[in-house]
């Protein structure tokens, strides 16, 4: 995320670079109640072998963005604007046939709930072998061997026998391992992991996260990692993008965003989350209110109705003007840079214990 030349929210972004670059992405769903702008002017870059963590609450548009990259929205009800370029190839205008060649091959996805993402009718081995056969033209036998090899790689004991099992015969952690095997079978360049460990227990989650990291090192895959858990992000990502109500509000490297966050929403997230070493005397400081409805999003900065620092911005810019998110390290907030730093050091940091 180093080469965006124009600020987000500004029109006509310049030529993209990086392995995956998304420019001014707008995704609108038409619903019975009216159009819902789930993603509103999002830009980011991802380089090869790196992990971009996207954090946000439900409804912040993090999953929608990634389904758009894979072209998985129903075109009947979805309007998509902007640019998604993967290794020089524009994806929004790509035909279904081209996308088909991409999915499971160069771009793969791991879903949150492996039980619903796996088909109950086919054996695990077959489900892993299928994309391999389709994309590489391998024979059935070779693909099966590859599936067994992948299962061994992700740590399924007795992979030869277990490949003949059905998903219901696997435990939750093993299913997620099988999903990872399926996603990596064609050695993709980009892996999208949408809350891959949310449904798992902590000890299993720790195994899966470490496994993903180790496999990434081996395969050199770029990962977009979506989660609502800041702890998981701290563990996994190189860069972080914080999303709120369809927009990115802050971005930077893990250290920058977590150690010296600049956006009031990020402060709120950090402050509302107890940690194993946080001070027990102080109560948590939650973010007041709840996320806005995207049918009628607040004008200006979408966080302003919940923001406790709004009165420190002169005038009513928070209500009237959308704060821009500059490329590189930045936050979309009307507070001045110096103001942000002092607020964080003097008011936020002490409360984090």
């Amino acid at each position: 995320m180093t080469t965006v030349t124009k600020a987000e929210g500004a029109p006509a972004p310049a030529g993209p670079e990086g392995f995956l670059s998304v420019r001014d992405l707008q995704v609108t769903f038409s619903t019975e109640d009216g159009p819902v702008k789930a993603v509103d002017g999002l830009s980011f870059d991802l380089h090869r072998g790196k992990t971009l963590g996207i954090v946000g609450e439900s409804g912040s548009g993090k999953s929608v963005t990634n389904l758009t990259i894979l072209g998985l929205h129903d075109p009947l009800f979805t309007t998509i604007d902007g640019e998604i370029v993967l290794d020089g190839k524009e994806l929004i205008t790509a035909t279904e046939k081209e996308m088909e060649k991409l999915r499971g091959n160069r771009v793969a996805m791991i879903f949150q709930d492996p039980l619903t993402a796996l088909s109950p009718f086919y054996t695990i081995g077959r489900q892993i072998a299928e994309p391999y056969m389709k994309h590489t033209g391998a024979s059935k036998k070779a693909a099966w061997e590859r599936a067994v090899e992948m299962l061994a790689k992700v740590g399924i004991p007795h992979p030869k026998e277990r490949a003949r099992d059905y998903p219901h015969q696997f435990s939750g952690g093993m299913r997620q391992r099988a999903m990872i095997a399926m996603a990596l079978v064609c050695d993709p360049d980009l892996l999208i992991a949408d809350e891959p460990t949310t449904a798992l227990d902590v000890t299993v989650q720790a195994q899966i996260l470490d496994l993903l990291k180790d496999l990434q090192r081996e395969f050199g895959t770029a990962i977009v990692f979506i989660t609502h858990d800041l702890g998981v992000i701290a563990d996994m990502a190189d860069d972080i993008m914080v999303m709120y109500a369809g927009r990115a509000v802050e971005r930077g490297t893990v250290d920058e965003v977590l150690r010296s966050p600049q956006h009031p929403y990020t402060w709120g997230l950090l402050n509302s989350m107890p940690r194993l070493d946080s001070d027990l005397g102080t109560p948590l400081s939650p973010i007041p209110g709840s996320p806005p409805s995207l049918l009628t999003p607040p004008p200006g900065c979408r966080f302003h109705p919940r923001c406790t620092f709004r009165d420190r911005v002169d005038g009513d810019r928070c209500v009237t003007e959308r704060p821009l998110l500059a490329p590189d390290r930045s936050s979309a907030c009307h507070l001045g840079a110096e103001q942000k730093r002092t607020i964080f050091i003097e008011e936020i940091r002490p409360r984090l214990g």
């Binding site: 720790a206 180790d214 939650p286």
Partner: protein, 372 residues
């Protein structure tokens, strides 16, 4: 009329002076039968959801129950509230044995033990107004507070931070966090002495979780209600509970006050659990690193749990003794009073990094071996 909500002072002072337990559970067992066979379905086994559990909850304290899914923590909550009947063992509430008490016998106790459920979407009747939902418990117990039930409901709504004007709204008009507040208001309606909260915040968004945790803490402090706080999130349990019990496959493997469990754990599973929590490190680089333990595989099936110590199949210290002999839940030497551990070969009481990480997962171990 907030004063009404402050419970009589006697209750609080009693909690300080008399350490008499509010709730005592001993040897609690719950087995769910597994049926199979055709044409006659017989009982072929049992899910040993809770298998010999001892715990004590004192008046006004918050007792945390942590563990992974399937460890029996929710079943324990349901047994304590007597939504389930225990297979064996005793539950004593204020000196009265309620383990097999009938409906009539339970009626007065039911109003003193309330429950907050995990999913605020399925635990509120969509066809009833908020007022009806919250006054339901009062109606059932024939309680008519001074000034009428409606007034009391408005007070309760205010206590939990909702607008009393919303008395006539339906649950679907509220967000998840607000619904959970309605659940809390309902639990408070009868001025209970004990609230069992089963994963009360895990269905909520991060920014909302803190609101509800703060509310529960407020309620606990102001009204002196004892809590059994069931959750899988170790950081939230630490924040909320004074005493914590760690469960694994239907048993408590370690219990103690918050500080000893989180800073000086002895059971290997507690170590593994704590080391697995992903954390945002805000401290500087030179602070001590946490230990790294990666277990292999998943929790075994509670239908046929391992013999002896139930954790032995995933434990790095397991020896023959662990399979043959079940470790008793005792106070190990060097542990604080009340810190009990069930382990033959306990770990050192620290969570700092070891010389070598413990990586039991074969795939991880192989990949990491390659790299080195």
């Amino acid at each position: 009329m907030k004063e009404d909500l402050v419970l009589p002072a006697t209750r609080e002072t009693r909690a300080d002076t008399a350490p008499e337990p509010l709730l005592e559970v001993s040897g609690l067992v719950k087995h769910f039968p597994v049926k199979g066979g055709f044409p006659i379905r017989r009982t072929v086994g049992a899910v040993q959801a809770v298998d010999g559990l001892d715990l004590t909850v004192h008046a006004g304290e918050s007792f945390g129950l942590v563990g992974e899914s399937g460890c029996g923590k929710s079943t324990t909550g349901r047994l304590i509230t007597r939504l389930l009947e225990p297979t064996s063992g005793t539950i004593t509430y204020r000196g009265q044995d309620i383990s097999h008490a009938g409906r009539r016998q339970l009626a007065p106790i039911r109003s003193e033990i309330q429950m907050i459920f995990q999913d605020p979407y399925s635990s509120l009747n969509p066809r009833q107004t908020v007022g009806k939902i919250i006054s339901g418990p009062m109606e059932i117990n024939g309680i008519s507070p001074e000034g009428g039930r409606e007034k009391r409901v408005r007070e309760l709504l205010e206590t939990v931070g909702l607008n009393p004007e919303h008395y006539n709204r339906f649950p679907h008009e509220f967000s998840g966090g607000q619904r959970q507040r309605i659940g809390v208001a309902r639990a408070l309606a009868l001025e209970p002495k004990l609230i069992v909260a089963d994963e009360p915040v895990s269905a909520l968004d991060v920014s909302i979780q803190a609101q509800v945790v703060n509310l529960l803490q407020q309620v606990q402090k102001d009204l002196g209600i004892a809590f059994v706080f069931i959750a899988h999130d170790l950081a939230i349990v630490r924040h909320f509970s004074q005493r914590v019990a760690v469960m694994y496959l239907g048993k408590i493997i370690e219990v103690g006050d918050r500080d000893s469990i989180y800073a000086r754990p002895r059971h290997p599973y507690t170590h593994a659990l704590l080391s697995a929590v992903p954390e945002v490190t805000l401290t500087e680089e030179d602070s001590p690193q946490r230990e790294r333990i990666r277990l292999a595989g998943d929790v075994p099936s509670p239908i046929s749990p391992p013999s002896g110590c139930r954790f032995r199949t995933r434990c790095w210290k397991a020896q023959d003794k662990c399979a043959a002999e079940e470790p008793p839940l005792i106070q190990l030497s060097g542990n604080r009073n009340g810190h009990l551990t069930a382990c033959h070969f306990p770990e050192d009481p620290t969570t700092e990094a070891r010389e070598e990480d413990i990586v039991l997962d074969p795939a991880l171990a192989a990949l990491e071996e390659d790299r080195n």
